[in-house]
């Protein structure tokens, strides 16, 4: 940032910015160490942010892009609906309503006001995926839902703490409607605890520099982020760029739903116009406005300087049109649980696909684009306690003009971690029979798409109730500029005594092999989960020989694919590589 554009020196601004970001990071550490569910303490599926009094986001850290866009709308709505005059010290508000800025129902935001000498200075907030919130399926991913009421308990902005005291009636309603109230109790306290840590650290900062000074500093940081983002956008050629991608089915009708975007770049601003997208689907693959905004921001942040401070200012040059009643802005009572995990990456890919026409050297091919949502619950045979788990898989990312796609990384809207096998088997009655990268699953290209994974689980409990929500079983992740498609995902079952793995639709008669709820697995059954690979970039025959040899050595590419996809003749190569 240039000194002549700020009234505060740039060194002090940097210190304050980093201090605020570190507060958010410390919130996250507190969450990780005190939460009960593996979603939080292993998966890190939460985000921590700080807002000013007007509801503008002034700091965030490296959490989930899916949440970091939407939380701005959730906080803004909450402040306006409740009225800023109705907050008091020690209040905590909770909110998960998808129609009021939320992502999808499991994502809960908690928000606490921060006071300096009886004056409201700002807010600290935490948004996290609560792993069980009721609804028609354990884990609250109702893949066959047709309305929001099947997805779980919906909370408008309500206080769960008032002046530091529990609002017991609200807690009792929530705990009575979640299948694992102990986890909810623990996770909510972890979220509230992170807010209290943020409050203490923020007050230290405000006391050190003065509340008004920090106010001015955050304003200048937001303006600085806006200027920087505008400078980045100016580097994109003006014009209109269109792209479309699809959700292959909605879990109810079997029909695909298309996301269509028109990206307008004009000077230092960008418009993402989704007006031509399909109407909202009957099933749960609809995106809320919060999801569409998050996904658009996510895509654009991929192609700009990653040092831009992520605050409200950096989003100002980005405008979004998402017509209500479309698949990118679902209206009540439309369901939306899959929108946050499955439609978000599709929107990201559509935006990047459009921008590939303008800045091909900055975008990547399609990534796997599904979280391979795998949700289960039951009574644990060892503890006799009811448990629920929301498990997701990492997949391959799309290649770019300068690099291969990431192997086995959670979708770009997630930035979450996988759960280690040891923890998974300790908490849940499965035995992991195998867990490996899938050779040849990355799209071929000068730069190869990332690989997906394959995991085989054996059920060790008498019964487990299983639901699943996958995408990319039919439509492959696309490549760019001659790059090949990534491999499909898969979800298969081998019942005890059966010789082969087969689709769930064949064995259980589910309408969809990719989206179903509440099938019952029994001890000895085996499930195969496979995540998709990422698309390739550039022509496979242009791949550098050294890179392909390394792929062969690592097992990422098979000798057969080296010939059929890349045209590499191994007959004259080292004998070891010919296997």
């Amino acid at each position: 940032m240039s000194a002549d554009q700020t009234s505060i020196d740039v060194v002090t601004l940097s210190i304050i910015h980093n201090h605020l970001v570190n507060i958010c990071r410390e919130m996250g550490v507190a969450m990780m160490r005190t939460a009960y569910s593996t979603m939080f303490n292993e998966g890190l599926d939460f985000s921590c942010v700080i807002f000013n009094r007007k509801g503008e986001m002034i700091a965030q850290a490296e959490f989930c892009p899916a949440q970091l866009g939407a939380i701005q709308f959730m906080v803004g709505w909450t402040i306006e609906e409740l009225g800023i005059e109705n907050f008091e010290p020690g209040d905590v508000v909770i909110h998960n309503d998808p129609y009021r800025g939320g992502c999808h129902m499991p994502e809960h935001m908690v928000l606490m006001p921060v006071y300096v000498a009886d004056r409201l200075w700002g807010f600290v907030a935490n948004i996290g995926h609560v792993s069980e919130i009721g609804g028609m399926a354990p884990g609250s991913f109702a893949a066959t839902s047709t309305e929001v009421y099947q997805e779980g308990l919906r909370l408008p902005p309500v206080k769960i703490m008032r002046r530091g005291e529990y609002v017991k009636d609200i807690w009792r309603i929530i705990l009575a409607n979640h299948r694992t109230p102990d986890n909810t109790w623990g996770d909510f306290h972890a979220m509230i605890g992170s807010l209290k840590i943020a409050e203490r650290r923020l007050l230290d900062l405000l006391n050190e520099y003065g509340a008004d000074f920090v106010d001015q500093a955050t304003k200048e940081l937001m303006d600085h982020a806006e200027r920087w983002m505008r400078a980045e956008i100016r580097q994109i050629p003006d014009g209109e760029y269109t792209f479309e991608d699809c959700m292959e089915d909605d879990g109810v009708t079997g029909n695909p739903t298309f996301v269509r975007v028109n990206i307008v770049v004009q000077g230092d601003g960008i418009l993402a116009d989704f007006s031509r997208s399909d109407p909202q689907a009957r099933g749960c693959i609809n995106a809320t406005y919060g999801v569409t905004a998050s996904a658009t921001y996510n895509a654009i942040l991929h192609i700009v300087d990653n040092e831009i401070p992520h605050n409200a200012g950096c989003y100002r040059p980005i405008r979004i049109i998402a017509p209500p009643g479309s698949c990118v802005n679902v209206l009540h009572p439309g369901p939306s649980v899959a929108g946050n995990t499955e439609t978000h990456p599709r929107i990201v890919d559509a935006v990047l696909g459009a921008l590939a026409q303008a800045i091909p050297d900055r975008v990547a091919a399609a990534e796997g684009g599904t979280s391979c949502n795998f949700l289960f619950g039951g009574v644990h045979p060892e503890s006799s306690q009811y448990y629920v788990c929301y498990h997701f898989e990492a997949g391959g990312w799309g290649a770019a003009s300068w690099r291969d796609g990431n192997n086995a990384v959670v979708v770009p809207n997630g930035n979450c971690r996988n759960t280690p096998v040891e923890i998974f088997e300790t908490r849940f009655p499965y035995l992991t029979k195998s867990y490996a990268l899938v050779p040849d699953s990355g799209g071929a290209g000068e730069f190869r798409g990332g690989l997906g994974i394959r995991r085989v689980l054996e059920v060790t409990a008498p019964q487990i109730t299983l639901s699943a929500l996958f995408e990319r079983m039919k439509v492959k992740p696309w490549g760019l500029f001659g790059g090949g498609e990534g491999a499909n995902s898969a979800l298969l079952i081998r019942r005890k005594g059966m010789p082969d793995f087969r689709p769930f639709s064949d064995v259980f008669g589910t309408a969809s092999a990719a989206k179903f709820v509440n099938v019952t697995l029994e001890q000895g059954d085996e499930v195969l989960l496979q995540s998709p690979g990422g698309g390739g970039f550039g022509r496979p025959q242009d791949r550098a020989v050294e890179r392909l040899l390394r792929d062969l050595k690592e097992g990422f590419v098979s000798p057969e694919a080296a010939w059929t996809r890349y045209g590499m003749d191994l007959s004259s190569m080292d004998h070891d590589l010919q296997m």
């Binding site: 009021r100 960008i270 998402a322 209500p324």
Partner: protein
């Protein structure tokens, strides 16, 4: 030319209104403009301006043009300067939706 208005909500209301252009949900303060002979709610004057300058000429009263194949080329249509003034997220304004819970 529109004007700012405040949509009053009773405490028991669960309905949501959305900006007539961008679709963002609007809890209270709206920019109320005129579209034809009807009042329409927007986030702010910028959304109203973009509605008339960009969106309506494309989508109102005509079939949406083909978007072409995936990865289709640049459309070099000249556009008025629509994106120079933008508002920070959180500004309110909307399009009434049905389905109060």
């Amino acid at each position: 030319m529109g004007q700012w208005a405040t949509r009053t909500r009773n405490w028991y209301e669960v309905s949501v209104i959305n900006c007539h252009l961008c679709g963002k949900m609007l809890p209270g303060r709206v920019w109320r403009g005129q579209v034809g002979d009807q009042e329409r709610d927007f986030c702010n004057p910028d959304c109203e301006e973009m509605y008339f300058g960009y969106w309506a000429p494309r989508y109102v009263g005509r079939n949406a043009p083909e978007i072409g194949d995936s990865g289709a080329g640049v459309h070099g249509t000249a556009q008025p300067n629509l994106l120079s003034s933008v508002s920070a997220p959180g500004a309110s304004g909307g399009r009434e939706t049905s389905g109060a819970g």
